[in-house]
């Protein structure tokens, strides 16, 4: 266990010093600052106002940019260390591959999760100081959603990192996955719908196994418990499960997905030559 913490701790320290971490933190912190400057909390849209509205906007943007941030910064972690012979030296000490790999993941997780969480906390504190009501339930839901969003893409990134040969390919795959989840599924689903060859339940199932789609729906679900924004799709979902169960699913399933990908990555890492 001490080696696991050791690896996580050192990776965390190394990341925090890195330039990408600074940019990363500034983007999410800046987003919140921008919202306040633009007076998002004062405006009213769809009946949401104040901090709730700000958090909703924050998470909608975060759902789009957090995955690509995580993918780009993490997708080379193992493969990069292998390419430039860092693994060759660091693994010449008596540390198990399990401790090394999972330690790296834990360290990286803390690095990517803390800034997005922190930005939200700043928003809450600043909002409270200006006398706004604090929407605790939304805050806690988003804390959970961001946690599982981070874990999904971190898992995918480590999975890719465990087998790719070159950094360029790793980046290419990362971009593809992001674009695919972000846009292609939406477009593909609409065209499937229009063809009317499959029943709607099936298409919704496909949409919901896409973690990014699931987050989008879950993020709005507290404002709109009937999921009216989703139109007829909502009936299928709410027919199938309660709103509470849906929220749990939207956190639990992506989390599981992330852990699974990370675990597959570990299996590959263990089976392959280390240098």
């Amino acid at each position: 266990m001490k080696n696991l913490y050791l690896i996580a701790y050192l990776d965390l320290k190394e990341s925090i010093r890195a330039k990408w971490f600074l940019v990363y933190s500034l983007v999410f912190g800046g987003l919140i600052a921008l919202f306040f400057i633009a007076g998002v909390t004062e405006s009213q849209v769809m009946g949401f106002s104040g901090l709730s509205r700000l958090l909703l906007m924050y998470i909608q943007i975060t759902i789009v940019i957090l995955p690509i941030f995580i993918l780009i910064t993490t997708v080379r972690s193992i493969s990069g260390d292998r390419d430039n012979h860092i693994l060759e030296y660091m693994l010449s000490f008596p540390i198990s591959l399990k401790q090394y790999y999972w330690g790296k993941i834990i360290g990286r997780f803390i690095t990517v999760y803390i800034p997005v969480l922190f930005a939200m906390i700043i928003a809450i504190v600043y909002g409270a100081m200006k006398g706004a009501d604090i929407p605790w339930s939304i805050f806690f839901l988003y804390t959970g959603l961001l946690f599982s969003l981070s874990s999904t893409f971190l898992g995918i990134a480590f999975f890719i990192s465990s087998f790719v040969k070159s950094s360029e390919v790793a980046l290419g795959i990362a971009f593809f996955i992001w674009i695919f989840l972000l846009a292609f599924i939406d477009i593909a689903l609409i065209s499937l719908m229009m063809q009317q060859r499959f029943n709607e339940g099936f298409i919704i199932f496909i949409a919901m196994i896409n973690p990014m789609e699931l987050f989008r729906v879950a993020a709005i679900s507290l404002f709109d418990p009937e999921l009216t924004v989703m139109g007829p799709v909502a009936y299928y979902i709410l027919d199938l499960m309660s709103q509470r169960a849906f929220v749990l699913l939207s956190i639990g399933y992506p989390l599981l997905l992330g852990v699974l990908f990370a675990w597959f990555g570990f299996m590959i890492f263990k089976k392959k030559d280390l240098v």
């Binding site: 001490k2 890195a18 060759e88 030296y89 660091m90 000490f93 540390i95 392959k272 240098v275």
Partner: protein, 212 residues
């Protein structure tokens, strides 16, 4: 005690180690030589358990270095051919080594001092920002501070100035008793006094193995 039995390692169609068998015992100090691309580094990495062999096996004191890597690596000190661009600071790197391999930081500092490397002035500097020779000095200091019975050096002196080389050989002579020393080198005359066995490799095979 290192035993290598019929070890073959291929990369694609290229055979880097071709049915290599040999063993290294306590008090063996071996100069491992051969042309570029002969397979020396591949052999060393196989001993460290980095490669999954195509056939054959490696045993270190009876243990497989892949399956029992912790046990095996506890007893090996290693300096690679090229110092890697580790981004940790020197302090962090020493912390990593002291926790994972139970090496005293003071001892690393002691050997660094003997190698004329001033660590305290560079503690918070990134490892990769040191000069090539300084990196090698630190890795050598670490390898000596880690009290192992097997010491493996893959050309560790490439970037060292003549003075530093002398320091290094002097330290090594003091520390090689009761150990197995594997030393990859292209300059036999430098290590002649240090070794008692010479192995030549070519095209993935051991072509001569002399003990004297």
């Amino acid at each position: 005690m290192i035993e290598i039995k019929n070890l073959t390692k291929k990369f694609g169609s290229h055979v880097s180690l071709d049915n290599v068998s040999c063993s290294f015992k306590k008090n063996d100090s071996v100069a491992l030589m051969g042309a570029n691309g002969a397979g020396k580094t591949t052999l060393i990495r196989s001993i460290l358990g980095y490669y999954h062999p195509d056939s054959g096996e490696v045993l270190i004191n009876g243990s497989n270095p892949i399956k029992e890597r912790i046990k095996v690596l506890q007893d090996i000190s290693f300096v690679p051919q090229l110092p890697p661009p580790i981004k940790l600071s020197i302090q962090e790197l020493m912390h990593y080594i002291s926790v994972s391999a139970n090496v005293e930081v003071e001892l690393i500092k002691h050997y660094a001092n003997e190698m004329k490397l001033d660590i305290s002035a560079n503690l918070s500097k990134s490892f990769f920002k040191l000069s090539g020779g300084m990196k090698q000095k630190l890795l050598i200091a670490i390898s000596l501070a880690k009290k192992s019975s097997i010491i493996i050096y893959d050309e560790p002196t490439a970037n060292l100035d003549p003075k530093a080389r002398d320091d290094f050989y002097r330290l090594l002579r003091k520390n090689e008793d009761e150990k197995t020393l594997l030393f990859v080198t292209h300059r036999l005359e430098e290590v002649q006094e240090l070794v008692n066995r010479q192995i030549y490799m070519d095209m993935g095979k051991i072509i001569s193995d002399e003990i004297f």
